[in-house]
């Protein structure tokens, strides 16, 4: 008997008797010989709870995490503080252990939280409708593409090179399935090149994909870029960092039809990349095309206010091959963490946090720019992340900083060969001025130590 099962020998024989089977094996009798495993699984024996704990703690020990070192890595996921109430609430059995609220009478807790979450995300993005979550950021961008094809009947996407590489890759992967083409519009001085974008858009374009702040941390002028897309009858999909929407003009006010993004900053941990949640907001007209669960308000037979899964006719369990998306299990618990976090932060908190990040980021950007061998990669306005170019091999410099207990940033080289010596530096409320000064000192030392890579000039954007 495993520690999670309860069938004693007595239970087993009683139950087998009731079933009319002589043995457990008999219950598997219908499995043809040739598909039986016929041996024990080649897996270790079961372990005591304490041994499992110690084994996993030993593995965890071999990771260098954000408590071991100063983490300035962002690139889509950020080391924000998660208030204790988020854990206390999401760990309650009542939220942790049920499944999708198919029986609304006994699922009002989750359904109401979804409704509250939708309201909050709709406020953040300034778009009228929101779903209750998707998997995470990049796959939400890809899902927006699927919706755009459905909405426009067109099969061509234009994506700014400022969109997160993972999002562009996921969009491309999905597109190969439903048969769409993705073309890219390059960057200029850190932001989407308006000229290139304009040239890339044509009357076959289903949607234009933008991200703000973009992957280099630069704030895009979405309003201006969106206009070009609308011109051509293409949808505007904006991937936004929700943590910046207290200070940045929201997608809904910039002409976006759809806003998606990564929800991790809102009460999520880094968790080596997941689980987090993706969000998906849109204009009214796309409501019936939205992917994912949506909670709606209604009343019960006695007139009590209540909530249900709305518009299920969009979904796979009802519509099957005609569904607007295939998603079933999503990220409800993470989205719950999101609404708890947003309630904690509150109307002023989100703005204050954005302003704090903007000022610390400005401080850090100046501090680093002042170092020999370090230059800003672009001069565009930023709010929580920025890019610099090093006059030294990035790997060696990052290695050197790591040795001093600092994860100095994200190397741009692999995904942006044109910025081979670029590094992306992220700031959160957890990185104090003192931390930033430590980073600057370490980085300065590390760059100085390196033989100036004469052959490669610090990349600055061609102008």
């Amino acid at each position: 008997m495993t520690r999670y099962t309860s069938a004693t020998d007595a239970d087993r024989s009683e139950m087998l008797a009731a079933v009319g089977a002589a043995s457990i094996e008999e219950l598997f009798a219908e499995l043809p010989e040739e598909v039986r495993l016929g041996r024990d699984l080649e897996l270790p024996q079961g372990m005591a709870e304490s041994d499992v704990h110690d084994r996993l703690a030993a593995l965890a020990e071999r990771n260098v995490h954000a408590e071991d070192e100063l983490c300035f890595i962002g690139a889509g996921m950020y080391d924000h503080y998660v208030p204790a109430i988020v854990d206390a609430i999401t760990q309650r059995s009542e939220f942790l252990t049920p499944y999708t609220p198919y029986q609304p009478e006994v699922s009002q807790g989750h359904l109401q939280a979804m409704f509250e979450f939708q309201t909050a995300m709709s406020e953040l993005t300034a778009l009228p409708v929101s779903n209750a979550s998707l998997y995470e950021g990049p796959s939400s961008v890809a899902s927006a593409g699927y919706v755009a094809v459905g909405a426009t009947g067109r099969r061509r996407f234009v994506a700014s090179r400022g969109v997160h590489p993972h999002s562009r890759e996921a969009l491309a992967t999905y597109s190969r399935g439903f048969g769409a083409e993705v073309v890219e519009a390059g960057l200029r001085e850190g932001v989407t090149d308006p000229g290139e974008l304009e040239r890339a858009i044509d009357d076959e374009t289903a949607a234009v994909f933008l991200q703000t702040p973009n992957f280099l941390g630069a704030i895009e002028d979405v309003t201006a870029l969106a206009a070009m897309a609308r011109e051509a009858g293409a949808l505007v999909v904006v991937s936004a960092d929700p943590m910046t929407l207290g200070v940045l003009r929201p997608p809904g006010e910039c002409g976006a039809d759809i806003a998606v993004g990564e929800g991790q900053p809102l009460g999520g941990r880094l968790d080596y990349g997941g689980p987090s949640f993706g969000f998906f907001c849109a204009t009214e007209e796309h409501l019936r095309r939205m992917p994912g669960r949506i909670a709606g308000e209604t009343i019960d037979v006695d007139g009590r206010r209540g909530f249900v899964l709305a518009l299920q006719t969009r979904e796979q369990h009802i519509r099957r091959e005609k569904a607007t998306h295939n998603i079933c299990t999503s990220q409800a618990l993470n989205a719950l963490g999101g609404i708890v976090y947003l309630s904690w932060l509150g109307r002023r908190g989100l703005v204050e946090l954005g302003e704090l990040m903007a000022r610390r980021t400005a401080y850090a950007r100046d501090r680093l720019a002042a170092l020999d061998g370090v230059e800003p990669l672009h001069a565009a306005p930023v709010v929580r992340e920025f890019a610099v170019a090093l006059d030294a091999p990035v790997d060696a410099v990052l290695k050197r900083c790591a040795a001093e207990g600092i994860a100095a940033g994200y190397p741009l080289g692999r995904e942006y060969p044109e910025f081979e010596n670029g590094v992306l530096v992220a700031i959160t409320e957890r990185r104090s001025k003192e931390d930033i000064d430590r980073l600057a000192d370490a980085l300065g030392r590390a760059v100085a130590e390196q033989p100036a890579t004469s052959n490669q000039q610090p990349a600055t954007v061609p102008s």
Partner: protein, 508 residues
């Protein structure tokens, strides 16, 4: 608020829903933030006006105690697995060990940045590699990618792999076969992957109708998607023959792993002939369902599919001359279908599932499946008796695997009671109802999956409750039609919610 004992409203029913936005009051707050420790530059200097937000989003303004009370109170309006039986067929609502939550929360896991240099994330990569190896052994397929975020994501991945495989061979295939018992995500994934759905019939034993299959398998068929045992809880004995037919025509065989909980350590999809499998870590491997996620849907594939797997792959590299092996992320996979999402997948779920696998071990996993099958067959035996047996008979008169399907057709005919009414009445008895009206081919279907972590006593209580409910239905069917009575809210007007959807709160 009417408190008089006359009122038969329960305390929870009296406690009307109020949203966190409705509790908001200007000036209240829970968060305090670190002090500004850098120069307070005017924001306009940093961000040009036209890029700035004018009016702040109208998030709630509430204090911490109010937030805690609000969510504690609404949480009690949920039914949960830690309260009682949750036999939701096809969803494997098994016990969620708290140990898994504890190890997932260790800072070394929870605060590890996904872009950390792999050399400095060796523990996480080894854990992923170990989980990959474990799933490969369980599925009988050697190569695993943990990237998909849930089962349906795995299905999409599997179909994109199939497409890549055929493209690589210069074959254009446009159709995918799914049985009429298939879960909705299967056909939905087919469409999303750009294929056309072709339905395969079910035979009288509840398996794939092999003749129908033969008739429909052509060189246009890219893939057959199956789950075995299928959504009827029945094991398809013809699986090898079926595999032969599909492979014979050059198609791939996709295994929907939602029902793996029936056969762990007893039979393996790979040995049945499947090429691609997804596994729902939030089902067989005890990841809590969280009200609808997070989940994770790793895929395991055969040799010929391996090269198309998503990037990055988690790989083990032998250390040069005698050094210990180390783990890495491999991005250089020219034939890969590419990324399905950001970073490495739902790592926190991997930690929980690996903890679960270590806790049970190989023998324990096999025993879990045995007990799941025993519990299902025992409950089925109990329900064959008495009124349940008469009004809610089993759809296919066979022994089941880990779940079984009943048909409420007699109840509907003889008592005018629909399966949904029975389900709602079960709520008054303190049980979560089984899955209803799925699979589609069974009339008034009720799909029951007790899982291995239930006790015999709880199964008996459930059987007794159904007996009592049908006794009640015989005397007054109206009661069932009006049920539930004791839940925080009673039957809700879903039609209205569809007609005039209110999907966010209006704020002023």
């Amino acid at each position: 608020m009417n408190e008089s004992p006359a009122s038969n409203e329960t305390p929870m029913q009296r406690d009307r829903a109020v949203t966190i936005f409705e509790r908001s009051k200007p000036g209240r707050r829970a968060a305090t933030l670190p002090e500004l420790d850098v120069p307070e530059r005017p924001l306009g200097e940093l961000i040009p006006d036209h890029l700035r937000r004018k009016a702040p989003p109208r998030l709630p303004e509430v204090s911490e105690p109010e937030i805690v009370r609000h969510y504690n109170r609404i949480s009690r309006r949920n039914f949960d697995l830690d309260t009682g039986l949750y036999p939701l067929g096809s969803c494997t609502m098994k016990h969620n060990p708290r140990l898994n939550e504890r190890v997932a929360a260790l800072p070394g896991h929870a605060r590890l940045h996904p872009a950390q240099d792999p050399k400095r994330a060796q523990g996480a990569l080894e854990l992923m590699w170990l989980l990959q190896e474990s799933l490969a052994e369980l599925c009988g397929l050697p190569y695993v990618s943990l990237q998909p975020s849930a089962g349906s994501h795995g299905e999409l991945a599997g179909l994109l792999l199939t497409r890549a495989y055929h493209d690589d061979r210069g074959e254009q295939r446009t159709k995918v076969l799914t049985p009429d018992t298939a879960h909705g995500t299967n056909p939905a994934s087919v469409t999303m992957a750009g294929y056309e759905v072709v339905k395969v019939a079910t035979d009288e034993r509840g398996g794939v109708d092999v003749e129908d299959l033969r008739a429909k398998v052509t060189d246009e068929i890219a893939c057959l998607m199956l789950t075995n045992p299928n959504t009827l809880g029945l094991f398809d004995e013809n699986i090898r023959e079926i595999a032969g037919i599909v492979h014979g025509a050059g198609g791939t065989l996709y295994y929907d792993g939602a029902n793996l909980n029936a056969i762990m350590g007893h039979s393996r999809p790979g040995d049945m002939g499947f090429d691609i499998v997804h596994v729902n870590l939030h089902k067989s491997f005890s990841q809590p369902h969280g009200g609808g996620g997070p989940g994770s849907g790793p895929i395991a594939v055969s040799e010929r599919i391996e090269r198309y797997l998503p990037v990055p792959r988690v790989v083990r590299r032998r250390g040069g001359n005698g050094a210990a092996p180390h783990f890495d992320l491999d991005h250089e996979r020219p034939k890969s279908i590419g990324r399905l999402r950001g970073f490495q997948g739902n790592f926190g779920v991997f930690v929980r599932s690996y903890a679960y696998i270590l806790s049970l071990g190989g023998d324990g996993l096999a025993e879990a499946s045995e007990t799941a099958v025993l519990n299902a067959n025992y409950l089925l035996a109990r329900l064959r008796e008495g009124r349940a047996g008469r009004y809610l008979p089993v759809a296919f008169d066979r022994r089941c695997m880990h779940e079984f399907v009943l048909s409420g057709r007699p109840a509907k005919r003889e008592l005018k009671v629909a399966t949904v009414d029975v389900a709602k009445r079960l709520l008054d008895f303190g049980f979560h109802p089984p899955t209803i009206y799925f699979p589609l081919l069974v009339h008034e279907a009720m799909l029951v999956e007790p899982t291995e972590t239930e006790t015999k006593e709880s199964l008996d209580e459930f059987a007794d409750a159904l007996e009592e409910i049908f006794a009640e239905a015989e005397s007054d069917p109206q009661t069932l039609e009006r049920a539930p009575f004791t839940t925080p809210v009673r039957r809700l007007d879903e039609a209205a919610a569809a007609r005039r959807p209110v999907v966010r709160q209006a704020l002023d």
